[in-house]
């Protein structure tokens, strides 16, 4: 039995992020995850699609798991703006009373989800790594790495609805689409005037391709705090370059300013699935492990034999990163000359 007063809320909703005429991949991942949760609950999956000229996307959302798509297609929603999206979603949520709302933890999703939670006075759990249903209580249980080393928490929101959670791109598997699936398309009016929207988008600049594509990388070399300093981190980059690998990192080197946040791997960064992962001076805290545990071959270099990363590495080198990295760089350069 659901907690008091919560039984009237039904259904799993996914807020869809889109751009350039395509849904964001994370939104499709969440439709698949939403489908699984909805089947547990015996409920429907609803996608809420907002933008200008986005109706063409709606069918694809059904192929990926939506039973219904609520479409708010309006020029006022051309660019993502917190107020506009909040108004539209809140109006529909209050009308239809879903029990769960899933949102991709992108820049946009992390801007929107907490605003919605405050407007609706409900809970929002960020960056979850697993979701499941407690059937007895009809509750969403959101699992995420918790503060501190190797702690996980199961977070619930028992007495408020909808239960809002955000999930980073790549955390949930993209399920295959089913082009035979049928669903309902529902267009809704947007009752907002431009003069009432306080935020104006003056310019949007895309840096275009050539950015970091860690999620698709075949090999990733990761520098952790154990590299010691900027010079140590430069060696990580050099090794990556010689291996044809992408560079990744953990939280602390970003705090130190050795590398930008775009390269962060883990629960609050990117999720990777490379054939080869090499961790240099990475301790292997669960926050980082959550984003790399599906790597095929894991190599760890760390001077602390008790470092957690040795619990999930295939090959380990116990030693000073600042001695091992130059040796690896020399060895790879020698391979180059030999050939």
């Amino acid at each position: 039995m659901a907690p008091d007063g919560m039984g009237k809320y039904r259904g799993v909703w996914v807020s869809i992020e889109q751009g350039d005429g395509n849904p964001a991949r994370v939104s499709l991942e969440l439709l698949g995850e939403g489908r699984t949760l909805a089947e547990e609950l015996g409920a429907d999956v609803t996608a809420i699609l907002i933008g200008e000229g986005v109706s063409a996307i709606a069918k694809e959302l059904i192929y990926y798991g939506a039973d219904r798509v609520i479409i708010a297609d309006n020029p006022i929603a051309r660019d993502y703006r917190t107020e506009v999206y909040t108004e539209i979603i809140v109006e529909q949520v209050l009308k239809e009373m879903p029990e769960i709302l899933l949102i991709g933890a992108t820049y946009m999703g992390r801007d929107l989800a907490p605003r919605l939670s405050a407007r609706l006075h409900t809970g929002c759990t960020a960056d979850c790594t697993e979701l499941h249903i407690d059937k007895e209580m009809r509750l969403l249980v959101a699992t995420k790495p918790y503060f501190g080393r190797n702690l996980m928490a199961d977070i619930i929101c028992p007495f408020h609805r909808p239960q809002i959670v955000t999930v980073r791109p790549g955390v949930m598997e993209l399920k295959a689409q089913d082009r035979g699936r049928k669903g309902e398309l529902i267009s809704v009016d947007v009752d907002l005037r431009e003069e009432d929207v306080k935020i104006k988008v003056l310019d949007t600049v895309k840096s275009g391709p050539g950015g970091v594509s860690l999620e698709e990388a075949d090999k990733v070399v990761v520098g952790g705090m154990g590299v010691g300093n900027q010079a140590g981190f430069e060696m990580v980059k050099e090794l990556a370059h010689l291996l044809g690998a992408e560079v990744g990192t953990t939280s602390l080197p970003i705090d130190e300013g050795w590398i930008s946040e775009d390269y962060k791997i883990g629960q609050t960064g990117k999720t990777i699935r490379p054939r080869l992962y090499i961790g240099c001076g990475v301790s292997g805290a669960i926050q980082h492990a959550a984003g790399m545990i599906n790597s095929e071959l894991v190599v760890a270099i760390n001077n602390n034999p008790k470092a957690d990363i040795f619990h999930f590495a295939d090959y380990g080198i116990i030693g000073d990163v600042n001695q091992i990295l130059p040796a690896l760089i020399t060895e790879l350069s020698t391979v180059d000359r030999k050939n």
């Binding site: 917190t82 405050a118 291996l243 669960i286």
Partner: protein, 268 residues
């Protein structure tokens, strides 16, 4: 132009205790530092004050020891520091925290801008900024890497995946800043000493805040940690490569070649 900067004391290390009964963190007694990106929010406020004049209040919520991070804010140059501290506020999730901060902002009353860091280094949810903006009915401008104020309008450069946007809104507004926005100043030693000798950190409890006590702390938090447990990620057995650096390097490169992971490199 009057500015409120929200700051937070965060644990210095990732080793932090938790209460197995409530699933909340034991902030009491843990060593704490000013959340690193809060320094960028404070620096942004100080630069805006240099340009436009006005008054800066630093605001925090936490146990009594969180006073230390407000002393740091004072030594950087803010005009006033207020700590919300009360056992009724303990165990708050992000929404409950935002509720208490919102009451404090209303009590401070005079402000044109609220600055927060994008996220704290411990929770990393990035939720308090947007939630506080909503509770105060303010427009929110998130992930700012530049801020410019012109009369009653504010413009930011907003960092996004693979690019950025320029956003503009009217004051008052709430902005969350990225770490890259500026280089925070390091307070001179005499300013730090003066802060401890002559300056006051005001402490407000639940009584001073007013509001609805049911929205405070653990009790007022929609989300709860049902269970917190230790989990070690494990998979198989690690093979340790032994030897001098050049020896282990040779061994590892050999393994990578064997596994066909060097194909296409250097003509191999």
């Amino acid at each position: 132009m009057d500015i409120i900067v929200c700051v937070k004391q965060v644990p210095e290390t990732s080793e932090i205790g938790w209460d197995p009964k409530t699933g909340t963190l034991l902030r009491e007694g843990a060593g704490g530092i000013l959340n690193p990106t809060d320094k960028n929010a404070l620096e942004a406020a100080l630069q805006l004050r240099e340009e436009h004049g006005g008054h800066i209040t630093a605001l925090s919520m936490g146990p009594p020891q969180a006073e230390e991070v407000l002393r740091e804010a004072l030594s950087m140059g803010v005009d006033r520091a207020v700590l919300l501290s009360d056992s009724l506020l303990a165990g708050a999730d992000t929404l409950s925290t935002s509720y208490a901060l919102g009451l404090a902002v209303k009590k401070v009353a005079r402000y044109d801008l609220i600055l927060c860091s994008k996220e704290s280094s411990d929770g990393m949810t990035a939720q308090v900024g947007p939630q506080l903006a909503e509770l105060l009915n303010l427009p929110q401008l998130t992930y700012a890497t530049e801020i410019a104020v012109n009369h009653n309008r504010v413009r930011i450069k907003q960092r996004l995946e693979g690019g950025f946007r320029i956003l503009e809104t009217c004051l008052p507004a709430l902005i969350t800043v990225e770490r890259g926005i500026n280089q925070p100043r390091i307070p001179p030693m005499d300013s730090i000493l003066e802060t401890y000798r002559d300056r006051e950190v005001q402490v407000w409890g639940a009584e001073e805040l007013g509001g609805d006590k049911d929205h405070f702390g653990l009790k007022g938090s929609p989300t709860q940690a049902r269970s917190v447990y230790s989990k070690r990620v494990k998979r198989g057995q690690v093979s340790i490569l032994e030897g001098e650096p050049d020896e282990v390097a040779r061994k590892l490169i050999g393994i990578l070649r064997q596994r066909d992971l060097l194909r296409g490199l250097h003509g191999t």
